[in-house]
């Protein structure tokens, strides 16, 4: 389904980042996609199911979350974070600012799992300079 992707802050994302980027709270607050209930019905997606959001720059799997606050059908919302940024363009049209709201995207249901932060970094940026546990 063709949608307009908006990214932004949420209070959970704001708290999650203060708990720490490696915390469960952070992942749960940003690896999500808020959707209009009508859109979810059309896609046959239920609250808590996984969806794949794709743009011309890539795709990412996140958890769908029903939101009555998104009243315009065809609009989805992903909080700021590495999941959203994987599919955003770095072109700035000469302003220094990439387009982070109102981006054309595709959403479809998927069985793939939502990656945790470390796996996401490894998959996206190749060799992660890991921390030795001692």
């Amino acid at each position: 389904m063709k949608v307009s992707l908006v990214t932004g802050r949420t209070i959970d994302q704001g708290c999650g980042k203060e708990y720490g980027k490696l915390s469960k709270e952070y992942t749960e607050s940003v690896a999500i996609c808020e959707m209009n209930p009508e859109d979810m019905k059309m896609l046959k997606v239920r609250d808590g199911d996984r969806v794949k959001v794709a743009t011309e720059h890539g795709s990412v799997v996140v958890t769908a979350k029903k939101s009555r606050r998104i009243r315009l059908p065809g609009t989805i919302f992903i909080p700021y974070g590495p999941w959203a940024n994987l599919i955003l363009a770095s072109d700035t049209d000469g302003t220094g600012m990439p387009l982070l709201k109102g981006v054309r995207a595709d959403v479809e249901p998927t069985d793939e799992q939502v990656l945790d932060l470390q796996d996401l970094l490894v998959q996206s940026y190749g060799q992660i300079k890991t921390l030795r546990r001692d």
Binding site: S4, T7, G14, G20, I70, S90, T95, T130
Partner: protein, 480 residues
């Protein structure tokens, strides 16, 4: 245990200065007056924390001494030809000042997080100016408060309580009473409609159609009013007296339509970007009728189609309104010291962000010298990140370019960027473990306090940067 009061909160641009903290055994036992974001920081700042300097060896980050980490950082910066020095919005003005000196010394580009936040707002302000005031003036005098493409409930949770709609000003009262009556009425209405739905089945409810909120309450001219304009019906919109829903990327059209209406021009269409002209006329009348209006705008304007032109239109709207009444406009700044970063950058170099020292003098051309553009082109050959997490917050292509080159991170948290770095230097949390100065979103400087001691070996950003700068100078003198 005694409470330490009047602490400035080091989280968002509101910089609330009434936080109370109870300290026990060099830790924070309790925090009062804090919003959810502030409480999360004060209560959890020490979890998921790294307190050892780390250097990457054979692909792994290993613990080293602080001296070794600083030496390695200095070698990377002194050996690079076009390094990026990025972050700066979550540290003190004093640290930023040293950062600028370091950028000049190594001939790099220094940029702060406003580049991917209110950077376009700065570009618009440089073109058309800005009528502003402090938040104290807003609290005491503003009778019309507009939040455009901004959601203070989530990003600046105490903004309404301390500075706008819910605050008790000297000349303007808060809207608490009205709001609680309305919320109560709304919940009764919902309950009745749910019962009616059960009795008459969905879709055949005999209840009359919902009147517009303004008609229901018939606000008098004198009452403080709140308007929210946004893509989503956020919780901030629930508090508002009027909510205008915009389609993503259509703010510009609505702002220009309002400008035309305020200049008494007729619009020969029935709706603009999905909003009926009748609604816009009503809003335009409220704007003209107010005594002191304020338009707070968020990054919904700067990050969507139109970017700086959206902000340009919003500022011109307030300029038009100032011919009829008194109106100011203010960006809702995100990090607690992003305004300070812009201010220190400006008084040190002449420019607020994206400052390039590669020619030996400061040069500023966002779109060229801004960090995302440099990374996209792959021009930089090293980076120093201070109190920021660009791996989390930059688009993928920019992150690739950032992590492919030597990367130094100075941060109290073990962030995603730190996980990808070559050198990680843990620092003290400014405003909790170190003192400094921060600028509130209305450019009022406030002192950040030291409440507890940092863990051993964690120095303030200012000191770490000072030591790197000293070593860089020594290395450069040796080679010269």
């Amino acid at each position: 245990m005694p409470a330490i009061s009047n602490i400035v909160c080091p989280v968002c641009g509101c910089c609330c200065d009434d936080i109370e903290v109870i300290v026990k055994d060099n830790g924070i036992a309790e925090v009062r007056n804090a919003c959810a974001l502030s409480a999360a920081k004060f209560e959890h700042y020490s979890t998921h924390r790294n307190t050892s300097p780390l250097v990457r060896k054979n692909g792994e980050l290993v613990k080293v001494s602080l001296d070794e980490a600083i030496e390695r950082s200095a070698q990377i910066l002194a050996g690079s030809s076009y390094p990026i020095l990025y972050g700066w919005s979550s540290t003190s003005c004093e640290a930023i000042k040293v950062g600028l000196e370091l950028a000049e010394e190594v001939g790099g580009v220094i940029d702060n997080t406003s580049t991917v936040c209110h950077g376009p707002s700065i570009l618009a302000i440089q073109e058309v100016g800005l009528s502003g005031a402090t938040l104290g003036q807003v609290r005491h005098r503003a009778d019309l408060i507009i939040y455009w493409a901004s959601n203070p409930w989530s990003a600046h949770p105490r903004h309404m309580e301390r500075y706008t709609a819910l605050s008790e000003g000297r000349f303007q009262k808060g809207i608490w009473k009205r709001l609680s009556l309305r919320l109560h009425a709304d919940s009764v209405r919902k309950r009745i409609s749910r019962i009616a739905e059960l009795i008459f089945k969905r879709g055949t409810s005999p209840l009359p159609p919902k009147e517009s909120r303004a008609e229901r309450h018939r606000l008098s001219v004198e009452e403080r009013k709140v308007i929210v304009v946004d893509v989503r019906r956020t919780r901030s919109a629930d508090i508002a007296d009027y909510f205008i829903q915009v389609e993503p990327g259509e703010d510009y059209a609505i702002l220009q339509a309002l400008r035309a209406l305020i200049r008494d021009e007729e619009l020969d269409v029935e709706e603009v970007a999905g909003v009926p002209v009748e609604t816009l006329e009503e809003i335009a009348d409220i704007m003209i009728d107010c005594k002191f209006g304020v338009l707070f705008f968020g990054v919904g304007l700067t990050m969507s189609r139109g970017k700086l032109r959206n902000v340009d239109a919003a500022i011109k709207l307030t300029q038009d309104l100032n011919k009829r009444t008194k109106f100011i406009i203010m960006p809702m700044r995100g990090h607690f010291n992003v305004t300070g970063a812009n201010t220190v950058f400006t008084w040190q170099t002449g420019y607020p962000y994206a400052v390039d020292f590669s020619h030996g003098y400061p040069r500023y051309n966002p779109g060229e010298t801004s960090v995302i553009d440099i990374l996209r082109r792959g021009d930089s050959d090293a980076a120093l990140v201070v109190a920021s997490d660009p791996v989390n917050n930059f688009p993928q292509k920019a992150v690739h370019s950032l992590v492919d080159n030597p990367l130094i991170v100075i941060d109290p948290h073990l962030s995603s960027t730190a996980l990808m770095a070559d050198v990680v230097i843990p620092s003290a949390f400014v405003g909790i473990e170190a003192e400094g100065t921060a600028y509130r979103m209305d450019h009022v400087p406030l002192p950040l306090r030291k409440i507890v001691d940092p863990p051993e070996g964690c120095l303030p950003d200012e000191e770490i940067l000072g030591r790197i700068l000293k070593q860089v100078r020594e290395l450069r003198n040796e080679t010269a």
